[in-house]
């Protein structure tokens, strides 16, 4: 019987140098695994592997040295222990996320919840080439949004409330764009909204709650960080509505499926067909 490597790869089995051995990729969403899942993984690595796991660059786990003959048994043990196998090949890959605003004091969006929803909607979807989503809670960018085909970053649009302001000038001191000017004598504040990075430092540092704001999503498209390195680009202003986010992603994936050649990454496709049509399409979806 010849081995169908393509089919095995689809199911998360990465062929090793050593004949008939596979590094088994497991499914994780947002780098989140339960203690129970870890127990299952530990037992599989001990019984079928070589007693260790490899942590991947995309917050996943692989168990190396699974023998071809054990594949069905391993799949059964994993599945009974609440662990699914991961995906490889030309489809939506592991979705990564930082801990987001449910844990991190800097977080502006619930990255893990979003990653789970994205996994439900798009996880494993077949596309012309691999496709990566990543979520990061704020501009600190721990999860490196712009290296993904689509990256989503938490941002916040500041809003100044004159009645609370003491004109102390802390916001002017912390703004990385230097677009806030506080005039203590005239008791006025100017803010150049067009150049705002949505980092939220003014809001976080304000000692009188004069700066408040609404959290939203800053989306980047076409990041690559493998053979070729390219930084994902922002084509849209900050989006506040989660439903809109899905409309934009639906449109982007459709554009990719309709326009990319087989084996062509999102970025390469964008550069070949031109960004203009794509920008029109997602701008329409964001309306």
């Amino acid at each position: 019987m010849s081995t169908n490597y393509k089919e095995l790869k689809k199911g998360g089995f990465m062929r090793q140098r050593q004949p008939n051995y596979f590094s088994m990729r497991l499914k994780s969403v947002g780098g989140h695994l339960t203690a129970e899942q870890l127990g299952t993984i530990q037992s599989v690595a001990t019984k079928f592997g070589k007693g260790y796991v490899h942590l991947t660059s995309r917050q996943g786990i692989e168990i190396p040295f699974i023998h071809l003959d054990d594949i069905d048994a391993v799949k059964k043990v994993l599945s009974e222990g609440g662990v699914q196998v991961g995906v490889c090949g030309p489809r939506v890959r592991t979705i990564t996320a930082c801990q987001g605003n449910s844990i991190c004091p800097s977080g502006l969006i619930d990255t893990l919840k979003l990653a789970e929803e994205f996994d439900k909607r798009y996880g494993g979807r077949e596309l012309p080439h691999k496709f990566k989503f990543g979520f990061t809670g704020c501009r600190n960018n721990c999860l490196k949004a712009e290296e993904n085909d689509i990256g989503v970053k938490g941002g916040v649009k500041p809003d100044w409330h004159a009645e609370n302001c003491t004109f102390c000038g802390v916001c002017q001191a912390v703004c990385p764009q230097k677009i806030i000017t506080v005039d203590k004598i005239a008791r006025s504040v100017t803010f150049d909204e067009n150049n705002c990075l949505y980092c939220g430092k003014c809001i976080k540092s304000c000692p009188s709650d004069a700066w408040q704001g609404r959290s939203g999503f800053v989306i980047s498209f076409g990041g690559l960080y493998g053979n070729r390195i390219a930084v994902g680009e922002n084509f849209l202003p900050i989006i506040f509505d989660e439903d809109k986010l899905y409309k934009i992603v639906d449109a982007a994936l459709k554009f990719f499926a309709d326009n990319a050649k087989s084996g062509e990454r999102f970025r390469t496709m964008l550069e070949r067909v031109g960004r203009e049509n794509f920008i029109d399409m997602i701008t329409e979806a964001a309306r």
Partner: protein
């Protein structure tokens, strides 16, 4: 405005910036003013807000143009 106490925390990093400030504020009475010299970066981003959360009021901020700021804090000014 005259300060009742002066503290320079440009030689320490978080969380000692906050700890040292708290210790000095302990010894002041409500309404007294602490003049605080702190670094640009994390201290200026976090300290005024943390002081506010503890009920102290930031009255003024001056940029010393040497990578440091001086702020005037009124103890218990928000309580």
């Amino acid at each position: 405005m005259n300060a009742d106490e002066f503290l320079d925390i440009t030689d320490v990093v978080c969380p000692m910036t906050f700890v040292k400030t708290k210790v000095v504020l302990e010894d002041l009475d409500d309404g007294q003013i602490l003049e605080l010299r702190l670094n640009d970066g994390e201290p200026i981003q976090n300290l005024p807000r943390s002081l506010k959360d503890d009920g102290h009021k930031i009255l003024e901020l001056a940029n010393n143009d040497d990578g440091t700021f001086t702020i005037l804090v009124e103890k218990g000014g928000l309580t």
